[in-house]
Symmetry: C2
Subunit: 209 residues, 2 copies
DNA sequence: GAGAATTTGTGAATAATTTCGCAAATTCAG
DNA sequence: CTGAATTTGCGAAATTATTCACAAATTCTC
């Protein structure tokens, strides 16, 4: 790859991918950038430009064969195999994630769950045993897990994230409100704090009154 | 407001706001765009430009008085009063959100929880009674709630979202993987699907191997 | 089979965002 | 009190992202 694909383009691919999967589930075989764009509130040109970064997947006059485009996106997003995921923090949110059945069908297997609380360690969530966070590094290394979802209390977030890096984790989905300070070439971070997202909305909602 | 503030600027304000709150909690009184930027991995110039959209909050040579800047951001983000929130869907994620204690201190009160399941309707989550989703419109109208968090199964997402619009909801934080199609001037949408976020990361993680 | 209608991929134009660079204000060191 | 060091806010420049517009390929209509 000579010039890296812009991150903003990459961020749209999962949305295309999931929409195409829904279309396929509804029995549709082909689509066009126009149709996809209308469904997503994005311009057709943008979808074509985005996809053109990776190759030529469509056909003039016809559009895109959904199954083919799904396969291409699957490869591009490295979703042609499944990924193991660790959940750090078995509080309310961590538990909900560990219980959620929407990950596995999309190729994400919750493999490890950690917490600090002696009341939780050793108990089960579904068929997952909650592990002691002190064992984080050896357990993650042993399991070879590369992705972690961080659902610990804010105060612990940075320290736990530092441990995750030492354990060889390569991607952290951060649900805390603490912005993490980590070496950028080593770990891929995504901040998904619900409070920030609500505040982003209140900016606009307040304005309309 | 003549030219609207770019959304990308607005999206960064909650991060500044929360970081400043943390600094204040740690006893700090002033900061600079340089310090804030280093903490967040953002350039100092960008922070200054972002803030300059709303006014002049700093002082040359000194930087920013944290308490003052927090107050300003609180007003800008309309967080100078608290907001009531409805959670739609009392499955794993909905339950976790309803139980989560991180919202109230930041001014978001979970006021209503809805579900379809007769097994859940009438039962309690903490001191919140789960309501029948058939009562969505009258309950939300009566309570005057403006913000909803959507945690229903994918298949129901669009239909429920349409109801929310009819009920007068002005902001939806969408945790489903369904991209919602809603009138853009009426509702402010934020898509926060964990699967998409993981796929955004797998793009990069796969590349490094 | 001919002409109209679709639709892609892409170069060029436009628009949006970020970074640069610096005058002005302020603080700090001695 | 003086000179060095900070730091802001902002115009200008550079960079990045989106939209436009159209040739080329294909399908559709009759």
């Amino acid at each position: 790859m000579q010039t890296p694909i812009p991150d903003i383009v990459v961020s749209r691919l999962p949305v295309y991918f999931q929409t195409l999967q829904t279309m396929q589930a509804e029995g549709q075989h082909t689509t066009s950038s126009k149709e996809l764009g209308e469904k997503l509130g994005i311009s057709a040109a943008q979808i074509r430009k985005d996809l053109s970064q990776f190759g030529e997947f469509g056909k003039q006059g016809t559009g895109y064969i959904i199954s083919f485009l799904i396969d291409q996106l699957k490869t591009i997003l490295n979703m042609d195999h499944s990924w193991d995921v660790a959940v750090i923090g078995a509080g309310n949110l961590g538990k909900a994630i560990a219980h959620y059945h929407g990950f596995a069908p999309q190729g994400f297997n919750i493999k490890l769950v950690f917490d600090t609380s002696p009341d939780l360690i050793g108990t089960n969530i579904g068929d997952l045993n909650i592990l002691d966070i002190d064992e984080l590094i050896p357990c993650i290394k042993k399991a070879g897990v590369k992705i972690a979802m961080l659902t610990v209390p804010d105060a612990a977030a940075q320290a736990v994230a530092d441990e995750l890096v030492k354990a060889g984790i390569e991607g952290i989905l951060n649900y805390t409100s603490t912005p993490l300070n980590l070496p950028p070439r080593v770990v891929h971070l995504r901040h998904s704090d619900p409070v920030s997202q609500l505040q982003h909305m209140t900016y606009y909602i307040g304005k309309s009154k």
